[in-house]
C-alpha cells in the first residue's frame, strides 16, 4: 500500500479532500487534487468504457471525466445540483472524477489511517488505499494508481 506508506512519514497530520458517494465518505490526499468543479457540459467520447463519461473543457484543457460510482461498481445515480467533479492529477494527466458531493477538506492524524480491513462495503478493494477513522467518521481513502490506468484501445474493428 504505497499510499499509506507515504502517509506514514514523520508528518503528523494529512490534509484530505472528503467527498460522498451514496452514503459513505471517501477521501483523497489533497496533493493529488487539482480542483473541485461544478458539473459542466460533458462531450461523449465514443467507444470508451462506460465509466468514461466523456471530456470537458477545463479552462482550455480537454479533460476526461470518469463516473466514480460506476468505476467503483456502485449503483449509478442521475447527476444533480450537488454533483461535483474532483479534478485529480498524476504526473502525466488530469482526470475528473464525478462524485455525489464534495463535503470537506480536513486534517486527519496520520496514525488514524489504517490498512483496509478485509471487507469494505462493496467497493472493489484494489481502488482503496486504506481507511481512516476520525471521531465518529469513517473515511475510505482511495488510491489513484489503479483508478487512473489509461484507457487503451488496441484492436480495430471492421471499418
Amino acid at each position: 500500500m504505497t499510499a499509506t506508506d507515504s502517509l506514514n512519514r514523520n508528518v503528523e497530520v494529512q490534509k484530505i479532500v472528503v467527498f460522498r458517494l451514496e452514503d459513505k465518505e471517501y477521501a483523497l490526499e489533497v496533493d493529488v487534487v487539482e480542483s473541485i468543479e461544478r458539473l459542466m457540459a460533458i462531450t461523449k467520447v465514443p467507444k470508451t468504457p462506460s465509466y468514461v463519461k466523456g471530456v470537458v473543457n477545463l479552462r482550455g484543457v480537454v479533460t476526461p471525466i470518469i463516473d466514480l460510482r460506476e468505476r467503483l461498481n456502485l449503483k449509478v445515480n442521475p447527476l444533480d445540483e450537488e454533483t461535483r467533479i474532483i479534478i485529480v492529477s498524476n504526473d502525466e494527466f488530469d482526470v475528473g472524477l464525478i462524485v455525489d458531493e464534495a463535503t470537506d477538506v480536513i486534517d486527519i492524524p496520520i496514525d488514524s489511517i489504517k490498512l483496509q480491513p478485509e471487507v469494505v462495503g462493496s467497493v472493489e478493494s484494489e481502488f482503496i488505499a486504506g481507511v481512516a477513522k476520525v471521531d465518529k467518521r469513517l473515511f475510505v481513502m482511495l488510491s489513484l494508481g489503479k483508478l487512473l490506468i489509461p484507457v487503451k484501445r488496441v484492436s480495430i474493428d471492421e471499418y
Binding site: P46, R59, V61, V62, F93, P150, V151, K152, I156, Y159
Partner: protein
Amino acid sequence: MDTTQYLEMFLDESKEHIQACNELLLALEKNPDDLAIVNEIFRSAHTLKGMSAAMGYEDIIKLTHEVENVLDAIRNLRINVTTEILDMLLKAIDLSEEMVLEIEAGGTGAKDVSEIANKLNRIELDTFQKEEVIEDAVDESTNIRGGRALNVQNSNKTIRVNIDRLDTLMNLFEELVIDRGRLQSIADELHNQDLNDTVEHITRITGDLQSVILKMRMVPVETVFNRFPKMVRQLARDLGKDVNLEITGAKTELDRMVIDEIGDSLVHLIRNAIDHGIESPGVRLTKGKLAEGSISLRAYHSGNHVFIELEDDGEGVNKERVMKKAVENGIVTEELASKLRKEQILELIMSPGFSTAETITDVSGRGVGLDVVKSKIESLGGYITITSKDGQGTKFQIQLPLTLSIITVMLVNLGEDIYAIPLTSILEVAIIRTTDIMNAHNRKVIDVKGNIVPLVDLKEVFEMDTVDEKAEHQAIIIVRKGDKMAGLLVDSFIGQQEIVLKSLGNYLQNIFAISGATILGTGKVALVVDCNALIK
C-alpha cells in the same frame, strides 16, 4: 553543491555546443587550413568542459580535455588535420553526446572514455616529436590564417521556454477567444456604439495575439537537418560510397510538434537513398556519372504547407524488381500488377510488408519500411509522393501542414453532439436522395461520379442511437485516404471553421477514429474525426 536546478540549462547548452562541434568539424574537413574554425571548435569544447566541471561530470571533462589538447595542437600548427584525426574527434564528440543524453535520462554520465582519450592523447603526443621541425614555419602562417571569424553563434537575444508553457498560453488564449465570442453576441444585442468599438478592438488584438503565439511555436527545420551531414558522412564511409549532401532552406520554419515527429522519417529516407539509391563510385564512373553521388535536401514554404524534398542522383527505383517483389510478398496480384501505371508501381514500395533490399543490412531494410514513413507523415496530415527516373535518381516529396495546432474542419451534427472533420480529408460534401443509396454485399454504397463509394454511418460507428427515420435526403461527406474514398453519413452540416486541435490527453489513448478534440465557441468540446481510420 546542489546542481539540479542547473541541470536543464547544462543539458540544453551542452547539446548546443556538441552540435556546434559536429558542424564545425565537418566544416573543417572541407577547409582543413581554416584555423578560425579550429578556434571555434576549441571554444565550444572548452565551454563544454567548463560546464561539465561545474556539474561534476568527470568523464566528459577527461574527454573534452583531450579534445582540447588535440585542437590546441592543430591551431598551433603542430599537427595537420587528417581524416583520421577528424574521425577521432567526431567519435569523442559522439561519446560526450552519449554521456549527456544519459545524464538527461537520469544517469550519472559516467562512461569508459579511456580508449578514445588515450588515442587522442597519442595523436597529441606524436606531434611533440615533430614539433621542432615545424616550429619555424609557425609564426608567419598563423598571422595569415585564422583571420576570418566564423559566424555560427546566433546573436539574437533569445530565452528558452518550455513548450508546455506555450501550450498553456495557447489554452488561455482560446478561453479569451471564447469570451470574445460571448462579448460579441452581447454587443450585437445591446447596439451600444462604445461597446461595439471595444469588441472590435479586442477582435483585432486577439487576431494579432494568435499569430504571435503561433509564431512562437515555430522552429527552423535546421534543428533536425543539422544532424544529417554527420550521419551522411559516416554512412557513406561505412558503405564505401562517396556522397555529398546539399541542404537548402534550412531556415524554413515549422511547428515544433511537426519537427519532433518528422526527424526519424527523414533519417530513414536518407539512409535509404545512400544505401539503395547512390551507387558505389566505381559503378557511377562506368555509368558516366561523377564518382561522388549527391543528395539534396530542400525545404520550402508554399501556401499553408511546408515541402521537404529529398532527391538523389542514384540508380532510381527499378520498377521490374519492385513489381516482382510486390507480387512475391502478396501485396498485389500478378494480374493487377501488369495493369499498374508507373506512379502506382512506385507507390508500392511504400506499402506495408515491402522491402526490396536483397540482403538485410544494418543501414536499411530492418523490416521497418517506407510504409512506416508514409503512415507517420499521413498521421501528421501530410502527403508523401515519389518520382523516379531510371538511372538518374529518385525524389521524395513530403508535404506537411505548417502547424498541427490549427486546422480547418467541417463541423457536423451527429445526434446531440458536434463533430469536426478535417478539410484535408474531404473531397466534397453532398446532399443525396435516400433512394440513391444502393446495396452491394450488404454494404451501403453510393455512386460518386461513376465511382462506387462505400457509405459509413458515423452514428453507427460511434455507437450512437440511430433513428431509422426514412428521411428523403441524406447529408454525406466524401473523404479520401490516398486514392480510396468513403462517404460519411452525418445528420447535418454546420459549416467550415478553423479550430485549434487539442489532444485528448494520455488517459484516453488510441480512441478509435478520433484524432483529437477542439473547443467550440460555446465552450463545449467537439471531437475531431480521424478519417484515415474509417477507410480500410
